[in-house]
């Protein structure tokens, strides 16, 4: 009795925070390290910088986490990010749209591309690696053709740009952080506090069993693809508003970063395991490492190598941590 009581305590804490506590500790250790290495690291300015970087990637990474939990992933997310921006851009520039409806159409385009991905993967059942690799090339081609390879700048001013990327709340909090937090809350609620969330976990954990329990796993996966593309769309609009420019090549490589952030945060590539908070912290770690290395004045050529090293370490630690927990 006694034994099992302590075991239960452990289990409870595991479910509430356990899985994420490892990443959280890693994030803190990294912060401590960089604070010692560079006095600038622990300033409000730098902190908001970090969060702003987290915003763009984090929004996508959290959605990608849901998708990975459901048992798929999406390599075309960077291309969707580009298409959203380009569509918005040409509507404004070449067709004289106001930015608001243009952005809305851009966003809907992202949803449509997510729908294409979802339909392709869930109906043909081809592996999402190769399926979304091919749509990545196709979507990127669309962005190229539409923009004719040229960047598009927005010269007008509109409250849109403030609302999505330029305003600073309370004097110095970039508005992106608001979007990041809003998206985090929504995703957290959706994944961890609704029936949909449980269905997502079940689908990725054991698709056959989920089917037999009456879950429409095909439509769950499709929805997750669309949530991911919505995230890419939103993130693209935020970046567009911040930079006031879009390029057809933007967002390349974003997909890998998003997946990496999720995995650092404890998401399992084989589905059924992951958390929004973990991914949030995972994204934050990526931004920390990138920024910290720059602040330390690390050589440009080795920065990526260090990021790779941190990813590997974080994942190894996380795997060790969760293996020893799972199998007790």
């Amino acid at each position: 009795m006694n034994k099992s009581a302590t075991k239960n305590q452990k289990n409870k804490s595991r479910i509430v925070l356990g899985r994420d506590i490892g990443v959280l500790i890693a994030a803190i250790l990294i912060a401590v390290f960089f604070t010692i290495a560079s006095p600038v690291f622990l300033t409000a300015y730098n902190f908001f910088n970090l969060l702003r970087q987290t915003a763009q990637l984090g929004i996508i990474a959290m959605a990608m986490t849901m998708l990975i939990i459901s048992g798929e992933f999406d390599l075309s997310v960077g291309a969707i990010y580009a298409v959203t921006g380009v569509v918005t851009g040409i509507l404004v520039k070449n067709m004289g749209f106001n930015i608001w409806p243009a952005a809305l159409i851009g966003f809907l385009t992202a949803l449509l591309l997510g729908f294409v991905n979802g339909t392709l993967i869930s109906t043909t059942k081809i592996n999402s690696f190769i399926g979304t690799l091919s749509t990545q090339m196709i979507f990127r081609g669309i962005a190229m053709v539409l923009s004719q390879g040229q960047p598009i700048s927005f010269l007008q001013s509109s409250i849109f740009f403030d609302a999505f990327g330029r305003a600073e709340l309370f004097g110095n909090i970039p508005v992106q952080i608001f979007w990041l937090l809003a998206w985090t809350l929504i995703s957290f609620y959706l994944l961890h506090r609704t029936s949909f969330g449980v269905k997502v976990f079940a689908t990725g954990d054991n698709r056959l069993a989920a089917d037999l329990s009456g879950i429409k796993t095909m439509s769950i996966k499709k929805t997750c693809f669309m949530i991911t593309s919505a995230a890419a769309g939103l993130s693209s609009l935020i970046s567009l508003a911040f930079l006031k420019t879009v390029t057809p090549t933007q967002g390349s490589g974003l997909e890998l970063e998003a997946i990496a952030a999720g995995v650092i945060g404890g998401t399992s590539m084989s589905g059924g395991v992951g958390s929004i908070l973990g991914t949030f912290i995972g994204t934050f770690i990526m931004a920390e490492v990138r920024t910290g290395l720059v602040l330390m004045g690390t050589d440009a050529y080795v920065q990526d190598a260090f990021v790779g090293l941190v990813i590997a370490l974080a994942v190894i630690i996380n795997v060790r941590f969760s293996i020893s927990k799972d199998r007790t």
Partner: protein, 496 residues
């Protein structure tokens, strides 16, 4: 006679679970040792330790009189220890022959795998052990569970081993196949002096085959019976730690109750043809037949897996032309799949979610999920079905096989379905749990739920069912009821 393998005081723990505590066991050549115990007693753990797949904490083993501490599987195999594992580990895309000969040393000639030799040897082995002709080049993933199990049996028997360990080798086999297998085992024992360790939950099988039986409970030795002492009663008492009252179904006359489900001349190409039956409310209806008779195809068709191509299924007056999982669920049908591991449990979800999943799946996506509600349901079901769980927040993989199976039942019972379709409801489940599952099924039926079940264990069907449909080569032979419901009839119609 010198003992073949002697296991002394082996202990093993996983985290804070003590899977084995000071377990000892002794086997001589030309001896068949039965190993019994409830789910989670540690039988498979012991098997995996003996064959070098797991390390152990303390204790000693000796093999053929020499100290024995295998460092891996191939080491054990090279010393003549060959194991049939419970999980049926096959490589689905490889051929039967490849699966039979898979190992560190694949028969080869000048570095090239010698397929001709393997194919021929494979055919010979099947003839010798099972008296069957097969094509060894078929990918094993395309074979039925029974065929896969047989292939792995051929594999262990072919290794010229001195000690063969069989961990629940008969769960997918039908009675005649089991008989043939047992004959081969006895022959090997007598002719080649091989020692066997045989793990099973079926007391009849254990008593028929074994010379001695060791019983484990909670990872400890609790009994050791010699052939003369065998009795089902004593064995079940040792296994469960208490006596088990096996209840028979007291057949009720429900012929005038309303019809809950009716299959109207359903067919599925290459599986079964022209099957008709109707099941009354509150009835326990069985479907019997040998492997390949179409038994499990018929029962899974009732849940749309896949739906029949012809004919129709009428559920409580509603004609479902084409029945799908969601339609079936909406009509109040629940389904227990035959393979818990691949089609049932969610290993990374906790027990509460595993039990609540069907009602979650039926709720709208944006409904809030409150874990507490489902914990309550899980605790409720745990009491009702006496599922041994310490905390509904644990992962389901922490439960023993029998308790997992009860949790699978609880998943549907939580919804109070009007019809329950059960495919092999007690496969791989220990006798205590089996009796409890039977009781649950009787209670359900008593409460007006209609039960349709398929099983490869004819005894079980006889004990539990009001009527039994017997199938043979995809066709309905007869529906046995009342007086005609006898073992002899069942066998007669299933095999004719």
């Amino acid at each position: 006679m010198q003992s073949l393998l002697s296991v002394q005081n082996i202990s093993k723990h996983f985290g804070n679970i003590h899977a084995l505590r000071n377990v000892s066991l002794d086997i001589s050549p030309k001896e068949i040792i039965g190993l019994a115990g409830e789910n989670g007693a540690g039988k498979s753990t012991l098997v995996r330790i003996i064959c070098g797949a797991l390390s152990y904490d303390s204790g000693e083993m000796s093999y053929q009189g020499k100290p024995y501490k295998p460092h891996d599987v191939s080491n054990a195999e090279s010393l003549g220890i060959s194991v049939f594992h419970q999980e049926i580990p096959i490589c689905p895309h490889l051929s039967i022959a490849a699966n039979v000969f898979l190992g560190p040393m694949i028969p080869s000639q000048r570095g090239r795998p010698d397929w001709k030799l393997m194919n021929n040897r494979c055919i010979e082995l099947y003839r010798k052990f099972l008296d069957e002709d097969i094509d060894p080049t078929v990918p094993i993933g395309e074979c039925s569970a029974a065929e896969q199990q047989l292939a792995l049996l051929v594999r262990v028997l072919s290794r010229n081993a001195k000690l063969v360990i069989l961990d629940e080798p008969t769960t997918a086999l039908s009675a005649p196949e089991v008989e043939r297998l047992f004959d081969s085992i006895r022959r090997l024992k007598d002719e080649q002096g091989i020692g066997f360790i045989f793990v099973s939950h079926l007391l009849d099988e254990l008593m028929e085959l074994s010379d001695e039986i060791f019983v484990l409970r909670d990872g400890e030795n609790v009994g050791h019976l010699y052939k003369a002492e065998f009795s089902a009663k004593e064995l079940s008492r040792l296994i469960a730690g208490r006596s088990i009252d096996e209840r028979h179904r007291i057949a009720k006359d429900i012929s005038d109750a309303e019809i809950a489900l009716e299959a109207k001349s359903i067919s599925l190409s290459k599986s079964y043809e022209d099957i008709s039956f109707s099941v009354h409310k509150g009835e326990v209806f069985g479907i019997a037949g040998l492997q390949g008779s179409g038994r499990s195809e018929v029962i899974s068709s009732l849940f749309g897996l896949p739906p029949p191509d012809k004919g129709s299924v009428v559920i409580r007056g509603n004609d479902f032309g084409r029945i799908t999982i969601s339609r079936a669920i909406a009509a109040g049908v629940g389904y227990l799949p035959e393979d818990r591991k691949t089609k049932g449990i969610f290993p990374d979800l906790n027990i509460a979610k595993n039990i609540g999943i069907v009602s979650i799946s039926q709720s709208k996506d944006l409904t809030g999920y409150n874990e507490e509600d489902y914990i309550k349901v899980a605790n409720n079901m745990a009491t009702k079905l006496s599922i041994k769980i310490s905390n509904p927040r644990d992962y389901i993989s922490a439960l023993s096989g029998g308790n997992q199976q009860k949790a699978m039942l609880a998943r549907w019972l939580a919804l109070s379905p009007s019809i329950l379709v059960l495919n092999e409801p007690t496969r791989g489940v220990d006798i205590a749990a089996k009796a409890e599952i039977a009781k649950i099924i009787f209670d359900m039926a008593g409460a007006g739920c209609t039960i349709i079940m398929a099983s490869s264990e004819m005894e079980e069907l006889l004990i539990m069912c009001d009527r039994i449909l017997v199938m043979n080569r995809g066709r309905a032979k007869i529906i046995l009821e009342k007086e005609s419901l006898t073992k002899e009839n069942l066998f007669f119609y299933a095999m004719s």
